[in-house]
């Protein structure tokens, strides 16, 4: 068996990489795949708290690479799913303590046992980024509809082109339908035109994400979260299904309703 090794990256920080990894990983596990998520952000680990697993960490990625423990000992089993695991980043070490070759070997080893290996890449384009992409065979780029985030995403796409990851997929995160309607936010087509890569999904801005992060429970598990629904669709697309893009026209409110009528005239 050989699993898919997918790196989730963005260039810019704070666009939702870790949230995306947590939700995609949980969504894939929900659909009975065997999944491991690697937090490659050495020194700034976060995936553990987003998943609500921060109290269970004993060993980390660097311990595995330095052979202080066996790989199996460092893998933390999720609270909710038997088939979902986390390999946490080291918090008090430096990213120079792991090399791209070591990441490659680690991913190869994990892909013998798991269906999906998701790598949460650190922000930036330095050593940490190079480590995170080294073992991956596919890439997901997360961006938000802002000038700075799209610019950085473009840079990352360029860098991935010179590696083997020349067909990345895009997640457009934190779309605000109300602002798009007013013409104050770039829409899906605008971003797609500029970046010109495969669109994997669009995730609406959702307060529920903050609440789910507060609790350490991925939004993909909540039935009422719009972002959760968007991530469930993304997971199905990763599995190879064709799922239409979610309508961004939900809950326009009274003024939204009036504006729509007004604009249609």
């Amino acid at each position: 068996m050989s699993g898919r090794v997918i790196v989730v990256t963005s260039g810019k920080g704070g666009v939702g990489k870790t949230t995306a990894v947590a939700n995609i990983g949980t969504g894939l596990a929900l659909n009975n795949h065997k999944v491991v998520m690697i937090d490659a952000d050495i020194g700034l680990r976060n995936l553990d708290v987003v998943m609500g697993l921060e109290n269970r960490i004993v060993y980390d990625l660097i311990d595995v690479v330095e052979k202080k423990c066996r790989l199996r000992q460092a893998l933390i089993k999720d609270k909710r799913f038997e088939n979902l695991f986390l390999l946490p980043a080291a918090q008090t070490r430096d990213k120079s303590e792991i090399s791209p070759q070591q990441m490659k070997a680690l991913c190869a080893e994990l892909s013998e046992e798991f269906d999906y290996i998701l790598i949460d890449c650190p922000a930036g384009i330095e050593q940490g980024f190079k480590n995170a992409v080294a073992g991956a065979t596919e890439a997901i780029i997360v961006t938000t509809p802002e000038v700075s985030a799209v610019r950085d995403a473009d840079r990352i796409i360029g860098l991935l082109h010179s590696s083997d990851l020349d067909d990345p997929m895009l997640i457009l995160n934190r779309i605000r339908p109300d602002m798009v309607r007013k013409g104050d936010m770039m829409n899906i087509d605008d971003v797609n035109d500029i970046l010109a890569i495969r669109l994997l999904g669009v995730v609406p801005d959702d307060e529920g994400i903050i609440i789910s992060t507060n609790k350490g429970e991925p939004a993909v598990l909540g039935k009422n979260s719009k972002a959760g629904e968007a991530f469930r669709n993304i997971v199905r697309r990763i599995q190879g299904e064709t799922v239409p893009l979610m309508s961004m026209d939900f809950d326009p409110g009274l003024f939204g309703f009036l504006r729509k009528m007004f604009n249609n005239k």
Binding site: D154, G158, D184, M186
Partner: protein
């Protein structure tokens, strides 16, 4: 009340976002892959020398941008204009330019 306020706004800010991104990416992409500009230069030389004998050493190609547009500026000194297209170069272009 925001739909009433819209009467005063004729340029929604997303247009500026798209336009600024387009400009900044022209330069970002050219810098990230200098090889691309070099290939462009070679192909331009091939295409032009079919018709015109140029001074390749003094030729300059650069990307410039002003506030609202980017432009490719080429300064190509001409030595001589051919009477008919150079067949030999023509064949080469046929195979290497696509």
């Amino acid at each position: 009340m925001d739909f009433i306020k819209r009467f005063g706004e004729d340029t929604p800010s997303k247009k500026q976002a798209v336009e600024r991104l387009r400009l900044v990416l022209v330069h970002d992409r050219a810098r990230v892959s200098p090889g691309l500009m070099e290939k462009l230069r070679e192909d331009i030389i091939k295409a032009i020398t079919r018709y015109i004998d140029i001074d390749e050493d003094k030729m300059e190609i650069e990307l410039n941008s002003t506030e609202n547009r980017a432009e490719l500026v080429a300064n190509i000194p001409v030595n001589r204009i051919r009477r008919v297209p150079d067949k030999k170069i023509g064949e080469e272009i046929g195979t290497s330019l696509s």
